[in-house]
Symmetry: C2
Subunit: 343 residues, 2 copies
Amino acid sequence: MPGQRRIGRSTWVFQNDVRIIANAAVAGPMEGEGKLAGSFDLVYGDLYAGQDTWEKAERKMLEDAVETAIQKAKLTRREIDVYLAGDLLNQNISASFSAKKSQIPFLGVSGACSTSMLSLSLAAALVDGGYAGYAVAGVSSHNCTAEKQFRYPTEYGGQKPDTAQWTVSGAGVAIVGMGRQGPKICYATIGTVMDLGIKNPFDMGSAMAPAAAKTIQTHFEDTGRTPEDYDLIVTGDLASVGHPIARELLESEGYHMGEHFQDCGLMLYSAEQETFAGGSGCACSAIVTYGHLLKQMAQGRYQRILVIATGALLSTLSYQQGEAIPCIAHAVSFEMNDKEKGR
Amino acid sequence: MPGQRRIGRSTWVFQNDVRIIANAAVAGPMEGEGKLAGSFDLVYGDLYAGQDTWEKAERKMLEDAVETAIQKAKLTRREIDVYLAGDLLNQNISASFSAKKSQIPFLGVSGACSTSMLSLSLAAALVDGGYAGYAVAGVSSHNCTAEKQFRYPTEYGGQKPDTAQWTVSGAGVAIVGMGRQGPKICYATIGTVMDLGIKNPFDMGSAMAPAAAKTIQTHFEDTGRTPEDYDLIVTGDLASVGHPIARELLESEGYHMGEHFQDCGLMLYSAEQETFAGGSGCACSAIVTYGHLLKQMAQGRYQRILVIATGALLSTLSYQQGEAIPCIAHAVSFEMNDKEKGR
């Protein structure tokens, strides 16, 4: 078919030089003291980020990340044609209110923790397809807003099992445009909702692992690539319970994932930080990718990486009505030019 | 710029024959008895639609609309590459759970009542750009799920002012593909978030009117079209309070909108039905457009229409924290071939 930009059913192939022109990651205090300390553009001294509520703090983080990325790209807001963003809060308020500040034409997206790669996939398609010159993709999450909304009043200090995860506070943003420099976005593989009947909201890793494995397998089948074609394959927030399950599922399908199969939720915090099974939340994959991994690519450590962000698409109400947790994963493939690698 | 598919900053121009291949609208009992009775593919006898909760009923409506549209298109689920959907419920559960049933690669979108045209705009871009052969765009809303989530317990029967609106129960779905028949999608104009400081959640029409007027004006400026170029220009759910405000705002900018400037929220219910200022909700613009307007186009009544869906991007929490209501509007332009008009 003429002009076709997909392989298989759900892998988008970007035909132009669609690249990350600039990226920014801002982080809460705990994230700023973890294993990736020094990777972030801004670390807030406390979880209020100078605001009077946690929700306003989360929004501020997203606004700051957008502003920082635009400055790093040496662009103005007016030069950006579309802003795609989402978050974990009901009705996507961090994203929507940040779009009020940025005054960039706005498309709200919603995929729980998969929203990082969902927004980036669409941003890349809109730039590649000619619908936008520059597009901004961004997400945020905040430990206290998520706790309060999804679990118990934050002050209650409810105990959790070790399978629980720690919602990352922060925001990550990428500016996508055509260019000759920066990591190129080559493919996006869009996920299908999976539900294996897991109902425990304190074990999202186990629920999301099959969706991650499925999208990774689809990506390999569509592109003909293998695990060895990547220097790093990193899931968003499966953490210590879910990540081994994803590895096992992929092994059982014949994919030997090796040591370079990792998880953002396991890369962020140090062992001393009490985060249960590891990090989660929209910002987990976003600040690790936009704060750490793309820098590592620019420094020549990685030539080609695949980021798979997983999302648990439940609400408190769906849980209360006895529903299992439907999950999804979207994958984006980043690549440095050979020429750039040598620089 | 080569391959550019936009004019101005935010109007997308679809270069291929991107059309509505099939569409479906399902409706609750009240909608089925209103002014557009007879327009819907399915009318449910009660608001439970055979389910045991209202939320499951809303999901069932969306699932039914998706299935109906796929059948009408004479396609199978497997032939559809992407499903874009959203709704009003927290965490978009109607859309996500319906995507579990359809097993089509899924992109969740979030724009409150603007989600109908948001999902359709992106579906058209993905098909036009070559990322999908067929795309499904869908939304749902349900009077009781919205009342329960956004306002008071539904059984409480709280009194409302006349500026309030009635959330439509139903779901509307369009299948977008390349073809030679059916309404062609020509342009999409993506909105920017506006906030004029209105805080009253019982007067969404007033809050959303400026966003509608702004997107309509942008559409005219970008495309060079005028109100006279359309046979019908229809807002999504401004209803009797908001629609005159949008008209006034456009008049003050020099656009004489005329009698063919209407509102889906005013087209749906009869005068005897007590719906305050009129209909609202994601499904309002969706079932009116997909159930009624596209049929009218096929029958030759309209050659060219513009649908502007508005969204109020608040949450109960943003309201409780004293925030004003940020609003957005996205517009899609539909057109019949001259040849088809004469059939």
